[in-house]
Amino acid sequence: MESSRPVVIKHTPERLDFRQARNFWREIQPLITSDRPQLVFDMSSVKHLDMAGVDMLLQCITEVMKRDGDLKLAAVSPEAWVILEITHTDRFFEIYETPSDAMRSFSRFLPEAMRRQPFNTPPADSRPEDKSGVAA
């Protein structure tokens, strides 16, 4: 499945505290309010993230989802990772190692996380074909 809509990669500032988060929110307003936005936040430079920053990220994903778009995070710095983990926020986002990985993921049908098979089930490619012809 190919997507013709543009994917916008946005670098987040080094500090995502109340003031910076508010400025960043204003900055990305035009991107978020577009039709079906596809956004990637490159968080490699984030050194300081607090609750205001986390709140802003959640607000972003809420607004993007409302418009049938998606917001993904990429290259999350260890400092930001720790905060996302302790606030349980990491589970709301698809997180990729690099912005290009995140960008590529928009043109795939399933996100990478959903492709992973639980436990020891063989991957879909190696499974024998269902010959019964009955659709699930």
Binding site: P78, W81, V82, T87, H88
Partner: protein
């Protein structure tokens, strides 16, 4: 035989190690209810050391971390910066002058469960000037036995921060439990090893059920869950809905917010965790989170996530001030015409009650009729 000991608390011998948090040496921080310094001092007392002194490179911020009971058992000598080694030299001379036969110089940049009797016998058997204990890998642990008559050797050794010796050291191989203390993550490993019975460290509290120790003064809400192995320190507070599990250790005067999960983590003294957090595989304290999984220490300035608990006198002062300020503040609010924030409506009540447009004075049919007549 008169054996005396000098305990040295200073910066780590490893120059690449991160600095001590807020200038408090790791040996002064609690591990399952007691600081390592107290544990080592108790071991030495049990062995029969006649006099103990601790020389510490600490600032005033470390004062609350020194237990008052500890000061009664040993001589506490704060010596910031370069004064640490000079003070240690002077102390050695004093001990030697006062009739000590042997002096133990223990640098607490590692925790080790040495058998001091064997170490001293080893030193005497070899007729050594200075004996150093080494770990399984042959690295020097930081525990030295120095013959009190060898003042020059001792002075040289202490002048060089226990890193160089004037004469070849006699090495005592130690195969027991030891762990270097370079970062906050090492405290976590010490706690896990204690829970697993790998070391002699025992939790300082009452076992309320198998594997769960609770120290006096701790308050656990009945809506909170504590699963073994876990340790709740003195005056710690666990709020409703919190979950403490998998070798979690809450040291004294800590507070865990509502719905917060503490899993395989150590919460250092005077630390407050916010509500609904997930603290796993980490050491939290001094406004920092040291993530063991990511190997990174992150400073957190947001008190909603990680804050600090005030000590009891400060808390009392704060409460008294807020009580005194209550009436004047209310009076000022009244003068400025600020009303109290309106009560948040409850969700079930809002759902069950009719909307304002459909209230009794303006029923739906009447409102519709009026709208239709206006339209005509």
């Amino acid at each position: 035989m008169d054996v005396r000991a000098i305990l040295l608390l200073g910066p780590s011998a490893d120059p690449t190690a991160p600095p001590a948090p807020e200038g408090v040496p790791l040996a002064l921080l609690d591990v399952l209810g007691r600081p390592l310094l107290t544990r080592v001092a108790d071991q030495l007392k049990a062995f029969g050391v006649s006099q103990l002194a601790a020389v510490a490179d600490v600032g005033p911020s470390a004062t609350p971390f020194v237990p008052p009971a500890l000061r009664q058992n040993l001589t506490w000598l704060p010596a910031p910066g370069a004064a640490l080694w000079r003070t240690a030299q002077e102390l050695f001379s004093k001990f030697a002058h006062n009739g000590a036969d042997l002096v133990l110089a223990l640098r607490l940049s590692a925790y080790y469960e040495l058998d001091y009797e064997r170490l001293i016998q080893f030193h005497l058997d070899r007729n050594a000037r200075v004996t150093a204990a080494t770990d399984g890998a042959g690295a020097i642990l930081g525990a030295f036995v120095i013959s009190a008559s060898r003042r020059n050797d001792a002075a040289f050794l202490l002048r060089h921060s226990l890193l160089k010796s004037r004469t070849p050291l006699v090495l005592y191989p130690f195969s027991g439990y030891s762990r270097r203390l370079t970062a906050l993550a090492d405290l976590r490993q010490l706690a896990v090893d204690a829970f697993c019975g790998r070391s002699q460290i025992t939790p300082q509290g009452e076992a309320i059920k198998p594997g769960v120790w609770v120290a006096p003064g701790a308050r656990i809400h009945r809506g909170a869950r504590v699963l073994s192995p876990a340790f709740i320190g003195r005056y710690a507070r666990v709020r409703a809905g919190a979950l403490i599990t998998r070798c979690a250790a809450l040291e004294h005067h800590t507070e865990v917010g509502r719905g917060t999960v503490v899993e395989d983590a150590t919460v250092l003294p005077y630390t407050k965790l916010g509500n609904a957090l997930d603290v796993a595989h980490a050491v939290v304290g001094f406004g920092k989170v040291a993530s063991l999984r990511r190997g990174v220490e992150v400073e957190i300035s947001d008190s909603k996530l990680v804050g600090s608990v005030l000590s009891a006198p400060l808390r009392a002062w704060q409460q008294m001030l807020s009580l005194l300020a209550y009436l004047p503040l209310e009076f000022a609010r009244g003068l400025l015409g600020r009303s109290a924030p309106s009560e948040t409506p409850s969700f079930p009540l809002a759902v069950s009650s009719p909307a304002r447009a459909l209230s009794a004075t303006d029923s739906l049919p009447a409102a519709t009729d009026r709208a239709v007549s206006n339209f005509r």
